[in-house]
């Protein structure tokens, strides 16, 4: 048992639901008590989703506790099958219902015999893995389900194992409620078009499970974020010999590295075909110097001012590691501490940022992160929403670079973190965070633009009215932003009616009078 106010990664079923609802025409059913379908609210609110989220609950109530789910789960699966005709239904328990240890696998088996949809049971342990790991596993499970089944049933016949003629890739790991995933996806598409590489499939976002059988047609796989997609890539590598690139194309240096890896992969496979070898060096050079402003920006005198400034970075493994590298090696900013809450990926993280920061922090306790920031007193923080609030409390500016996120991290405008446009966005984010911090500091020194408190709103304070103690207390309870208005209105009414002493009653009479 531990005392917790906040968590960086959600429970496992959220990960499963994110994968399921990213695919087209896949329905997720939670075996959960009333109120556990909060995922639908998040998707509808944060992503401003126009469609009904394809996730519903098979409610566990007191009755289920006593008698077991019996036919209920199977009925709910079959009902969804009839109503929505999904290609696939994924059944998942939540933390609570997994303790019941009902044989959900058996329900799935029974339902799959009758239903037209495929039905699977999300194979995640709710007390062992978190949201991110569960998403990774579920994606692999879905891909494996479609490919293995195909292998078994129609080996050689239907599975078209030939590669596409022109070089092509699968992008794995773009999905709903991901941090700037939609923008990153668009940026990757643009990059690949520039490189003359076709996109075979993007999964899970917008993908169709029926098409998964064609995944092996791509020449290789791209895993932009290592949190989700790596398991799938490893599976495809083992079963189909597909190479994969798990470098995140974030920041100019890693971008170049990423494109060179693509080049290497393409060239290895073109050996046997008639297509000529590719050379992207020219492209990298042009993009780095002129399309991306980041390289020039770090040379400009603006960025000079940032030299040696201290920062703290915290986030998921991919973003925290990439941003650490960008700040340290591309902008010359000192990273006092860099950390991640992806404890399961700690080794990789440490290896990545070795030499780019003074200290490494691996934890999922926000209090520990807060204490560390307070101790370091950096000029800026780059972290999640939690760090933003820590920063607010400590008066340190913060740029948000990773999930968990809030609604403002789902911008309508184009804000990728990946690719060359991404380098521009990151440079802006970094620079703005510092600039604000600096401005604030200067304002503090010179006493600010304006005095903070306005002594009085009205020109004459002598109203001649007396507020009795109760009404004064009542007034102080009214939220500050409307208090002045309430005060003015009440006094206005009192004067109109010739009342000299203002009581609570007068206040509310005034409220009614001025409401209309």
């Amino acid at each position: 048992m531990k005392l917790a106010y906040w968590m960086y990664a959600g429970p496992a079923h959220i990960g499963t639901l994110r994968v399921a609802s990213s695919f087209k025409n896949v329905h997720a059913i939670m075996h959960a008590p009333l109120g556990d379908d909060y995922f639908n609210v998040m998707r509808s609110m944060l992503e401003r989703e126009r469609d009904f989220t394809a996730a519903s609950a098979s409610i566990v109530d007191r009755h289920v506790l006593a008698h077991g789910s019996q036919e209920r789960v199977v009925d709910n699966i079959l009902r969804k099958d009839k109503e929505e005709r999904p290609d696939l239904i994924i059944l998942t328990p939540t933390c609570t219902s997994s303790i019941l240890q009902e044989d959900l696998q058996n329900f799935v088996y029974r339902a799959s015999i009758i239903s037209d949809s495929n039905v699977i049971f999300a194979d995640v342990d709710h007390y062992q893995v978190n949201e991110i790991q569960a998403a990774d596993r579920t994606l692999e499970q879905v891909v494996r389900y479609y490919l293995d089944r195909l292998d078994r049933c129609y080996r050689q016949e239907k599975l078209d194992q030939f590669l596409t003629n022109a070089p092509s890739v699968n992008i794995i790991g773009i999905f709903t409620l991901g941090f700037h995933n939609q923008h990153d996806c668009r940026e990757l598409r643009r990059l690949l078009r520039d490189l003359d590489i076709g996109i075979n499939q993007i999964i899970p976002e917008g993908g169709s499970v029926e098409d998964l059988k064609n995944l092996p047609k791509a020449w290789f796989n791209l895993i932009p974020y290592r949190e989700v997609g790596l398991m799938t890539a490893m599976y495809l590598n083992k079963e189909y010999g597909m190479p994969y690139i798990s470098t995140a194309p974030m920041g100019a240096v890693d971008m170049a590295e990423w494109i060179r890896q693509i080049q290497k992969n393409v060239n290895t496979l073109t050996l046997s075909s008639s297509i000529k070898r590719v050379d992207y060096e020219h492209y990298i050079d042009g993009q780095t110097r002129f399309v991306s402003q980041a390289a020039w920006f770090s040379r400009s005198i603006d960025c000079q001012n940032l030299t040696g400034k201290e920062t703290v970075i915290f986030g998921d493994a991919t973003h925290a590691a990439s941003i650490t590298k960008i700040l340290a090696r591309e902008m010359g900013i000192r990273v006092s501490c860099s950390g991640t809450y992806c404890k399961h990926d700690a080794e990789w993280f440490k290896e990545q940022i070795q030499g780019f920061c003074d200290e490494i922090l691996i934890t999922d306790d926000h209090a520990e992160v807060g204490d560390m920031i307070a101790k370091m007193e950096p000029s800026a923080i780059f972290g999640t929403q939690m760090e933003r609030h820590i920063g607010k409390r400590l008066d340190i500016p913060c740029g948000v670079i990773s999930a968990p996120v809030h609604i403002q991290n789902f911008p309508l405008g184009y804000r990728p973190f990946l690719g060359y446009e991404g380098t521009n966005q990151i440079a802006d984010l970094v620079y703005n965070s510092f600039a604000l911090g600096m401005e604030d500091h200067l304002l503090d020194i010179f006493g600010g633009h304006d005095t903070k408190e306005v002594i009085t709103k009205s020109l004459s304070t002598d109203t001649g009215l007396i507020w009795n103690p109760e009404s004064r207390l009542e007034l102080s309870k009214i939220p500050r932003f409307v208090r002045e208005k309430v005060k003015i209105n009440t006094e206005k009414l009192a004067r109109q009616k010739g009342i000299e002493t203002i009581t609570v009653e007068v206040m509310y009479t005034a409220k009614e009078a001025f409401n209309s």
Partner: protein, 464 residues
């Protein structure tokens, strides 16, 4: 599916597959209401994730609530629950020093049968802070019913009335005929037994209702809950109690059965009609004749005129998730709206009897059929019905709001009614402010001609 019209009041029951908030969300408003409390939610990551997301920024403001997150060892009983809770509560005592710690039992504690009620008194004695237990879990309750479980638990801690002290004083005064200033004070109110109101309302709203009753010379002797735990009202034989919210049936039952209070069954003070009916039910109990109530209600309706013009003749569909639905529907019908359906998670016909009666009367008065009341609704069926009925407004949870808007159905998030100030005469306008907001927005955007923004082939496509 055809839509039935009823002449009398009927309550249907559907499958119960609907979206609502988990009842543990009550901590968000209760910790603010009860200033010296600390809420400890004993549950899993799922509960924590819900709270953290549902309460948004509140979580960063050092709230007086936390999760006691159960780990695998707790579930499999490898760890000692009592020791675990003791450790956390001692830490809470040290960090925050609350006057009461309220344990919120969740689905998980139910399933693993953690004996919170058994442990609380023992730990209370050991650490010296009152510990209350409320089982606000999703297995049994929906959303606002969470408050009900907390208040029911709190009712047990209300002190016995010191009625006798008062009485003795009076007797002594009578015997010795000393004239004290106190007497004058007593004269201000009707000479009557004490009245305790139950239901958590913001400070301002509670004092407005107090004032409303004071105008009728009725003194409210206390509220459950009070602003501080240490100020809980005295309850006992002969104390009259009256609810201000429709979801407090357990609390009402506890007050009647365990504390021997007299319950005044009344409609709820939501909307001017509800507020008037509420006062009218309370007054006769204390032998008071209401004064100027009719005019007062009339004046309020008068002041709502601009909003009433906007809602008159418009139709509304309640999907149901917070139990305020019947009261709100009754008010909106009185405003001239047509209510297609009242979805509601749970319907206590006894506790809500007066409210249901007022609904029926209102329908007759306004010459509209009584809307169907659907208990434990099925969201999927409801969306089909919304599709057929094309209401002007759907009052719904956030899971459905954006998808419905994209299909040209105006929506209002039901959750806002829970957090807004909607009680009493003075706040009637706030209810309509909420209800009309989507209608006003729609009016502003009318000329753009893009009411549906989903791809045509979508099967939930509703209007052009």
């Amino acid at each position: 599916m055809s839509v039935k019209v009823y002449e009398t009041l009927t309550v249907e029951c559907e499958t119960g597959n609907y979206h609502t908030f988990c009842p543990i969300s009550c901590v968000s408003w209760l910790y603010q209401k009860i200033e010296d409390s600390f809420f400890l939610v004993v549950g899993t990551k799922t509960c924590g994730y819900f709270l953290q997301n549902a309460l948004g920024v509140m979580i960063f403001a050092e709230p007086r609530y936390a999760m006691a997150e159960l780990e695998e060892g707790d579930i499999s009983a490898q760890l000692n629950d009592y020791e675990g809770l003791k450790r956390l509560c001692i830490r809470i005592k040290k960090d925050r020093d609350p006057s009461v710690i309220i344990w919120i039992g969740t689905c998980t504690t139910e399933i693993i049968k953690m004996d919170l009620e058994g442990m609380a008194p023992k730990l209370e004695w050991e650490i010296g802070i009152p510990i209350l237990v409320a089982r606000a879990n999703g297995l049994d309750y929906a959303f606002t019913q969470g408050e009900d479980t907390v208040l029911a638990a709190m009712a047990h801690r209300c002190p016995e009335p010191e009625l006798f002290v008062c009485e003795r004083k009076l007797t002594i005064q009578n015997y010795f005929a000393f004239h004290s200033i106190k007497k004058h004070e007593l004269g201000e109110y009707a000479n009557s037994p004490s009245l305790v109101l139950f239901g958590s309302l913001p400070f301002n709203v509670a004092s407005q209702l107090n004032l409303e009753l004071k105008r009728q010379s009725i003194k409210v002797s206390g509220w459950l809950p009070a602003q501080r735990y240490t100020d809980l009202p005295s309850l006992g034989d002969g104390v009259y109690v009256c609810g201000v919210n429709p979801f407090l049936s357990r609390t009402a039952t506890t007050l009647i059965r365990r504390k021997k209070c007299e319950l005044i069954g009344a409609p709820f003070p939501i909307g001017p009609d509800g507020t008037r009916a509420w006062i009218e039910k309370i007054c006769p109990v204390f032998g008071v004749e209401t004064q100027g109530l009719e005019e007062r209600e009339e004046r309020i309706w008068e002041s709502l005129k601009d909003y009433l013009d906007l809602v008159r003749g418009k139709s509304v569909f309640f999907m149901g998730d917070n139990l305020l639905e019947v009261s709100l529907a009754r008010f909106l019908i009185r405003c001239g709206m047509i209510v297609h359906e009242i979805g509601i998670p749970y319907m206590d016909k006894r506790y809500q009897a007066a409210e249901l009666l007022l609904l029926q009367d209102t329908c007759i008065k306004m010459c509209v059929p009584i809307p169907r009341i659907v208990e434990k609704p099925d969201n999927s069926n409801q969306i089909q019905r919304i599709r057929e009925l094309q209401p002007d407004l759907a009052i719904t949870g956030m899971a459905h709001a954006n998808p419905l808007e994209a299909r040209g159905i105006s929506t209002k998030w039901s959750v806002e009614f829970t957090f807004a100030q909607i009680h009493g005469f003075a706040n009637a306008r706030d209810v309509l402010e909420l209800v009309t907001r989507p209608l006003r927005r729609q009016k502003n955007l009318e000329d753009l001609g893009r009411t549906t923004l989903v791809i045509k082939k979508n099967k939930f496509k509703m209007s052009q």
